[in-house]
Amino acid sequence: MRVFSQRLSQQGLIVVVVFVSLSLLVAFAPVPVDALAGTPTTREITVEGRMFDFSPNVIRVNKGDHVVIDFAAMDVVHGLYVDGYGIETEAEPGVPTRVEFVADKAGKFRYRCSVSCGAMHPFMIGELIVGPNTPFWRAVGLTLLAAVGALVFTATNRTEAAR
């Protein structure tokens, strides 16, 4: 593949620099997420775990919210572990437990069962979405930039032979 060995034209170089800078901007530019999220409130949510899903399976809160989860296991012992927040609790059937935390990181965080509960246990997953989901929108922006950037780059770097 000549992608790497091909000599860059000056135009090509400019395209690369422009798109890489844009990508960095999209990836890291500070966004007033907290302002977008509105005033923090307390969210009390009851989550039921059963083989092999949670209900609700998607929890949406805003960044800064105080989240209180009452976790109840409906059939056998289940756990609740939240990716990224590292929060974990376990519940026996009939004995709900409670976890509280401040949702101070935006994005999608999977929560999963942390106690082996049967065949599909490793795939017993729910989603905590702390909005506004800036990581996702940044990723979308990067993807679109990648596609357009690749096209513009090819347009400015004509390949000579049709090989």
């Binding site: 060995s5 899903d53 572990y81 990716d83 994005g107 082996s116 599909m120 989901n133």
Partner: protein
């Protein structure tokens, strides 16, 4: 007599080796950015050992047999059973995250599956035994000399993933089936028919090995042309003829060379090289592109997408559909529900995704003014899915490997789940490894795959007779398709 000549040859070869190596490989062109790893003495020495492959495969065969035994006789709890954890987490991560992207078909060098059959054929573990291989040595049917059977074998395994990933017995049985099938085929057909035409793993390893930064090739094709004995293909006193039915002198892509290193031993002209090269070189090789490989590309992308939804998504009903057994593991939960899943699974793999892509390439053909047939365009552009699919698979795999990799520490001490504690790590707790970092890696991988795929779309247009502007116009719809696929993955991972 021949032996004498050979040893003499070898002397001459080694004497002029340095000089030879310094020469540029002019005849084949394309020496661009290549470095022959055999110039590094220890590597050269290693790969020339007859025991090289034997050591690797014997080691993996041990783990493979352990996986069969633990699968069949160990605990039914998947995450406490060696077979599930080692096959679907450790082995899978090794293959798709490390070996394929960095070393192409190197897994096939060490794969244990065809080894019992190969030992039987050769009636030898390491050394070269003169004479014919054991077995009927039949030729593989002409009509099946493609990877369609591998495509269907992969689909067959993939459709059962809900069971295989969660039930050790199922995994044990499937592994056993592989090794028995490979053995039987070794006795009926010549060489490694199983690897070449049936292995569900070999299909995608071959396709994605095109992206690898390593290749086995010949130094100078003219040497092959005049070398009438073709010892690399027919075998010699030093080793066996190519088990993969490949003639190294014609190699232009990694797809079907199993890196068994046999030809390094049998080529008495010192003409085999193992190059480091720019990754993805084979993707620009137009020769050899075929419909069966194109479909392999679709199947892999579709499966990565479906798996991401089923195994990483929050939808319990979908997991239930994919899992034909009841939650207690006793019997079928609902055959119709599972059949619906299987039907949808096959439809997405074989109709929906290829269908949408066909429409896309038709548009590309119109926009770019390409003169080739729609079918050809469909096949050619499908190779853009190779880089994107490979990186999407890595992205998907990272998510469950990082989260569940820690199970490996526990099961290595207690492979059967019988309460052993061989290395004192039985109690190692489930410890997700930086689950939140995965998303950023996934974004980077997918974006990288997309850039490569889009560039490839342009090059494929040029290869098919479009001028610069035409190839760019043709690349537009393809880019839209590829971007949409990427966004679907992003939605599943981050959205």
């Amino acid at each position: 007599m021949t032996a004498f000549r050979k040893s003499e040859d070898r002397f001459v070869v080694s004497a002029s080796a340095l000089q030879e190596r310094a020469e540029v490989r002019t005849t084949n062109g394309n020496t661009n950015g290549r470095f022959d790893l055999l110039q590094i003495r220890p590597i050269r020495w290693l790969l020339h050992q007859r025991a090289f492959q034997w050591v690797l495969t014997t080691a993996t065969l041990f783990f493979f047999l352990l996986a069969i035994l633990t699968g069949l006789f160990g605990t039914p709890a998947g995450n406490k059973n060696f077979s599930i954890i080692f096959v679907w987490i450790v082995w899978w991560a090794l293959v798709i995250i490390v070996l394929v992207p960095f070393a192409g078909r190197f897994w096939c060098t060490m794969c244990p599956i065809p080894i019992p059959g190969e030992w039987a054929q050769r009636r030898s573990f390491i050394g070269k035994r003169p004479g014919k291989l054991l077995g009927l040595g039949k030729k593989w049917p002409r009509r099946l000399r493609n990877i369609w059977l591998q495509n269907f074998a992969f689909l067959g395994v993939a459709i059962l993933s809900g069971v295989l990933l969660t039930r050790p017995q199922a995994t044990g049985l499937v592994l056993l089936l592989f090794v028995v099938a490979a053995f039987a085929l070794s006795l009926i057909f010549e060489r490694r028919a199983f690897c070449r035409y049936l292995c569900p793993v070999g299909g995608f390893i071959g396709l994605y090995s095109m992206a690898a930064p390593v290749e086995l090739r010949v130094r100078d094709r003219d040497v092959c042309r005049t070398h009438t004995e073709k010892t690399c293909y027919l075998g010699s006193a030093e080793g066996y003829g190519c088990p993969w039915l490949v003639f190294p002198g014609a190699l232009e892509r990694n797809t079907y060379c199993g890196l068994c290193t046999e030809c390094l031993k049998t080529c008495d002209r010192n003409n085999i090289v193992v190059n480091l090269r720019p990754p993805g070189s084979d993707l620009l090789v137009q020769k050899g592109r075929r419909l069966d490989e194109a479909f392999k590309g679709f199947i892999m992308v579709a499966c990565a997408m479906i798996y991401s939804a089923v195994f990483l998504g929050p939808w319990g009903w979908l997991k239930d559909m994919a899992n034909p057994a009841t939650s207690s593991g006793q019997g079928m939960a609902s055959p119709t529900r599972y059949l619906a899943y299987a039907g949808a699974f096959l439809a997405i793999n074989l109709l929906v995704l290829p269908g949408l892509f066909y429409a896309t390439t038709w548009l590309a053909k119109r926009l770019g003014g390409l003169k080739t047939t729609p079918r050809k365009m469909f096949i050619e552009y499908a190779y853009t899915l190779v880089p994107l699919g490979l990186l999407a698979w890595i992205a998907f795999s990272l998510a469950f490997v990082f989260v569940n990799g820690s199970y490996a520490f526990a099961v290595i001490s207690d492979p059967f789940g019988w309460g052993w504690d061989l290395f004192g790590t039985k109690g190692f707790p489930w410890t997700p490894f930086v689950p939140q970092v995965v998303q950023y890696l996934q974004t980077g991988l997918l974006a990288g795959g997309l850039v490569t795929a889009v560039y490839l779309a342009y090059r494929i247009g040029r290869q098919n007779g479009a001028d610069h502007a035409g190839a760019l116009r043709a690349a537009m719809p393809i880019t839209v398709f590829l971007t949409t696929v990427t966004l679907v993955f992003l939605r599943l991972y981050l959205g």
